[in-house]
Each structure stands twice: as C-alpha cells, then as structure tokens.
C-alpha cells in the first residue's frame, strides 16, 4: 500500500479544489491520517473505493471526536516606544486566546480485496454550535449507516445525504449529545448511596433537607 504522503499528493493532483493534509500521530502505532475538507469528502471517498490500486471496499469504523474551545496562552512580542528618543523596547505579554473548538469524524478504511489498510480519513465541522454538517459516506459504504447515526446521536454531527438520520441509541425525545466533553449529566437520576464524597455532595445539593438515610457519616 502506498505511503500516506504519496496518497496525499495523488489526491491533491486529482482533486485540485479539495484540501488534503496529513495529521501526524505521536504514538508508535504510526497510523497517520488524512484530513480532507468536507466539500470534496464524498468524491474522495468514492475514488478511494473504486481506485484499482487501493480498492478500499470496507469502511470498518466511523468515530466522532470532540475538541471543545481551548484557551491558548501565547506570549506576544510587542514593541512599545522605549524611553524618549531611545530604541523601541520589545516586551513579551501573555495573552489568552480562545481557540474555537470543532467536531471531527474519523473513518478507518480497509481493503478486503487487497488485504491492506487502514487509510484514515478525517473531516472537521465548522464549529460546535451551528455549522455541524458533514457529507454522509453511507452512499459510498453501507457500513456507515448505523455508525453515522450513532455519531449524530452522541456528538450532534448532522450528516447530509444520510438515508435515515435518527437517534439510534438514545430515545428520540432525548435532548443533548452525551459524548460531548461539555455535556452535563442530569442529576435527577435516582439517588444512589455510594459512600464516595463527590456523589454524596451532589446528592446533598439536590436534597439539601434530608441527610440521606444510611449514608456513611464521616467519623467524628
């Protein structure tokens, strides 16, 4: 199977309008992935499936990833007018910048015919709130049908072109997407007497009046 770099170049040559970039992987597994701009995702996918050399006819795994807004602390060099008539003084100032988060979908492609893989595709959504649509790859590989529904259900990524986009694990009336990092677990579930402090504290916040029967009273 050709190396990720060669594959990237071939894709860039073939699909000029689509941005294809390599995503390095720090772990010794060496599974480098290709991030593809959402616009041309389905054409690239169909090419990868039908290309004779690659023949990636099985999309084995579709995963959602959530990277929330991150506070990035940067040191910014600024030149400020120094002493009157003297050279400008360069001072460093720490500045916190909010890097906008995004949702990401990862496809692991394998070839059953050629017995090679994985080629890993990644696609990012605009942001985490309104621009969350990505083209669905179910028309290319049927195996994505349920897995994309699961990513929609647990992450909130809307797949355009999916034949039957509904929640698959949670019940339809469920609000929210549980796998997101900023998901707050509702605390109205039935109270559990686990002795662990944090759970107890949450329970006491919820039932401030009654000191829950049977809870472990911290020793005097």
């Amino acid at each position: 199977m050709e190396s990720p770099e060669a594959l990237r170049d071939r894709l860039l040559a073939r699909f000029p309008g689509v941005s294809v970039e390599l995503v390095p992987n720090g772990s010794p597994s060496g599974q480098v992935s290709l991030r593809i701009s959402p616009a041309g995702l389905r054409e690239v996918a169909r090419f990868l499936r039908d290309d004779a050399a690659l023949a990636l006819d099985q999309c084995s795994n579709v995963t959602g990833l959530d990277s929330p807004d991150r506070e990035v602390v940067e040191t910014v060099k600024e030149s400020q007018p120094g002493a009157p008539g003297g050279p400008p003084v360069v001072i460093e100032r720490k500045q916190t910048r909010i890097e906008p988060g995004h949702l990401e979908v990862v496809y692991h492609l394998y070839s059953v015919a050629r017995r090679h893989g994985p080629v890993i595709l990644r696609a990012r959504t605009g942001n985490r709130t309104d621009a969350v649509t990505l083209p669905s790859l179910t028309p290319v590989w049927r195996s994505c049908e349920f897995q994309e529904r699961e990513v929609f259900d647990l992450y909130g990524v809307v797949f355009e072109g999916h034949p039957d986009l509904r929640r698959i694990l949670m019940w339809d009336a469920f609000a929210g997407h549980p796998m997101r990092k900023d998901y707050v677990e509702p605390d109205d579930y039935e109270w559990e007497p686990t002795p662990h402090g944090e759970v107890l504290a949450k329970a006491r916040r919820h039932y401030p009046s009654a000191a829950a029967p049977g809870a472990v009273q911290p020793s005097p």
Binding site: N25, G26, S27, P28, S29, Q31, S33, D57, Q58, C59, S60, N61, T63, L65, V106, H108, V112, R115, P118, I120, T138, P139, V140, W141, R142, S143, C144, E145, F146, Q147, E150, L154, P163, D164, R167, I168, L169, M170, W171, P178, M179
Partner: protein
C-alpha cells in the same frame, strides 16, 4: 385486523442508496398504495427470541415482511464515556461487559489497542496463552450460537442444553484461571494477569481432545436434519458485494463467500505460526452461517492443539510493564482482532494523561445489524427470527 393506511405510516420510504448497483435487493414487495391489510407487529423487546433487549418493528403483508426497523439502545450505558473517565487499567474490567459471552477476546482487543498505542512488547508465553483463550472463547461462542439458532428454529431445548453443557466445561476453565466464569478481566498491557498452571493446561488438553467427538454428535443431530435444512437453506441470502460494502465481518462475511479472516489478514499475535484453514460458504444463507461456524470450530480445535503443544516457558507478564500509572504519549491507535462475532476494534486517542481522551469500541454485532432489513424482506416472521439468530448479536456490544 384493520390498520392505519400504509401511506400514513411513512411506509413509502424509498431507499435511494447508491448501493443498489451492489446487488442490494430493493424491496421487491414494496407495498403499492392500499395493497390489502398491513399488520404492524413489534417483536420484542420482551420477545422470547430476540437474544436480549432488542426490538424489531415489523410491517407484515399477510405472512410476508414488508418493512423491518430494528430498534435498540435499551442496554446503552455510554460505555465509551465511562472509558474516558477511567484510567487505561480501569477500563479493562469494563471490556468484559461488551460481548459478555467472550470476555477473553474483548480483553485481548483492548490490550492489543493499548499496546499499539503505547508500543508495549508482549511476552512470548502470553501470546500463546492469548491464542489459547481466544480459541476457547470462539468454541464457546459458536456452540452457543448453534444452540440458540436451533432454539429459534423450534427445537424444544435439546441442542441448547447440549451446547450449554459443553460451554460450562469451558467456563470452568476460565473460572479456575481468571477467577470468574464470564467477567475474566484477564489480559494486561504486555501479557496476561495469571500464569496458567500445569493442571489447568492438562484440563484444557482433555477438553480439546474431547471436543471433536461432541461436534460430530452435534452435527449428526442437526446438520443432516431435513427439517433444519428446509428451515434454514435459502433463507436470508446475503450477496458477497453487499456484505463487504456493509462492513459485515466474521462468520457472516465468510458465509457469503469472502475469505476475510483477520487472523490471516492482519496476522496479529502469533497466529501466523499456526496452520489453519478459513472455511467459506457459497450462498450466504442461514444454513451457510451455521455450517461455517461449525467448520470454524474444528479449525479452532486444531489451533488449540498446536498452541498447547508449542506453549513456551518464560514470564507471562514483564514485571516492569506499567499497568497502573500508564501514560501513553499523545497520539491515537486503532487495534482490531478477529473476535468470534467478527472484527472487534478499539480506537484510542491519548493526550498524554492517565485517561484516554477518546475510547471508541467498533462492535461487530452493531455493524452486522445494518443489513438485517435487507435479509428479512420478503420472508415470514418465523424466518426473520432465524435470520436475526444467525447474525449472532449480543446487546451488550450493540448498545455499549
């Protein structure tokens, strides 16, 4: 017996899926408007034969199925969010609860993924012990499958009881080794938790030697039986192209004629050292899936035999391998093995801390269910029950 008119139930959903060119059987029985009485029945989730909490909303035209929507999620406990909240070692006992029939292969898949993520070497003896336990788990799983499938065909429990009798013998082996029959929590990163004793290996040897005779008797009861053949041959036919495209893996894929077995394709662990064959079917119907699993069990017996003979000495786990405070470098890895039900894979993304930032389980039952509707269209309710049985799903793995 009247039913709301078909159009109201959104029945006219037309499957505009490009996969049509792949021999996908568009429902030849798509009901024309007002085509007689349609009976909407939901099989499950408390149906005796749905293998756990799983529901199928079926629309019947007379005796034939016109539409089938699987509904699950009843057993969803957000296993993957739990994985993000616990350490790498802490997730190991949770993997027992995925496909609760084969905790040994679940553990191995997770350990393989973490070893790939952190680059941990595995000791020689542990590789052999892992193969032995995986093949024992495969025997156990396929025997149970045959038992449940025949129970769905209507046998009053006899094949199921024979299957469970043999399964108990294997579970006793797991219990005397790992401490628990089904929740073994046995693999560690770089090896196994306990070194199997000589008595345990001798007990495994006797079990393996006796298993061939049990399979012969089991096949004599079932495989040649005309009623079994009549009920299962030609039912739920899965074309090879659709199987590959729909991500179907494991015995279901091989029954459709595609010789794809990760033990040969990926060659993980020490499988390349054993010579064994991969049986494949021709029609991809329920009978082929049953027979491919039976033949696969015979191959597993030969693998077990070779592994038991070739088991090397040496440590079962490198004492210096970090288990508790494991902090793999930032990066990601996707590791997969050939579980009894198909390709079970773990996708782990680490950011250098003690907990993974993403812990994804690729469950074979979940993906194999994608084509349940395509297989059942045009068949009767009795066939749909058998087709679901032949797919061999476990809800712990489907819902996660």
């Amino acid at each position: 017996m009247m039913l709301p008119d078909p159009a109201a139930t959104g029945l006219a959903r037309v499957r505009k899926i490009e996969g049509a060119a792949l021999g996908l059987r568009t429902p030849a029985f798509a009901p024309e408007e007002g085509a007689g009485d349609l009976l909407e029945v939901s099989l499950g989730p408390h149906h005796p034969s749905t293998h756990g909490v799983f529901r199928m909303d079926v629309v019947l035209d007379g005796e034939r199925i016109v539409r089938l929507k699987p509904v699950f999620g009843y057993l969803h406990r957000n296993h993957e969010k739990l994985g993000e909240g616990t350490s790498y070692l802490g997730s190991m006992p949770y993997t027992d609860r995925l496909d609760y029939l084969n905790s040994m292969t679940n553990n191995w898949a997770y350990a393989l993924a973490v070893e790939k993520l952190a680059g941990i070497p595995v000791t020689e003896r542990a590789e052999y012990v892992r193969v032995i336990l995986a093949e024992l788990s495969r025997l156990l799983n396929h025997t149970c499958l045959a038992g449940f499938l025949m129970q769905d065909c209507g046998c009053s429990g006899t094949p199921l009881m024979y299957a469970f009798r043999e399964r108990e013998k294997i579970l006793d082996l797991f219990e005397s080794l790992s401490g628990s029959r089904m929740m073994c929590n046995f693999q560690r990163f770089g090896g196994c938790r306990v070194d199997p004793s000589a008595e345990w290996l001798a007990a495994t040897r006797t079990l393996v030697d006796g298993y061939g005779a049990f399979l012969d008797e089991f096949e004599a009861l079932l495989s040649g039986n005309e009623i079994v053949m009549a009920r299962t041959q030609g039912v739920g036919r899965l074309p090879a192209a659709l199987a590959v495209n729909a991500g179907v893996t494991g015995p279901m894929l091989r029954a459709s004629g595609v010789g794809h077995d990760l033990r040969k394709v990926d060659g993980y662990g020490v499988y390349p050292r054993f010579n064994f064959r991969v049986p494949i079917g021709r029609d991809g119907d329920v009978y082929d899936r049953y027979m491919v699993r039976m033949l696969e069990m015979r191959e597993s017996i030969s693998i077990l035999d070779q592994a038991l003979r070739g088991l090397p000495g040496g440590p079962i786990l490198d004492p210096k391998a970090k288990q508790r405070g494991l902090r793999p470098k930032a990066g990601e890895a996707y590791g997969r093995i050939e579980g009894p039900k198909g390709e079970i894979g773990f996708f782990l993304v680490s950011d250098g801390t003690g907990n993974p930032t993403r812990y994804r389980v690729r469950a074979p039952s979940f993906v194999n269910l994608t084509i349940l509707e395509d297989l059942c269209l045009g068949h009767s309710v009795a066939d749909a029950v058998i087709i679901l049985g032949s797919i061999d799903i476990v809800l712990g793995e489907v819902d996660r």
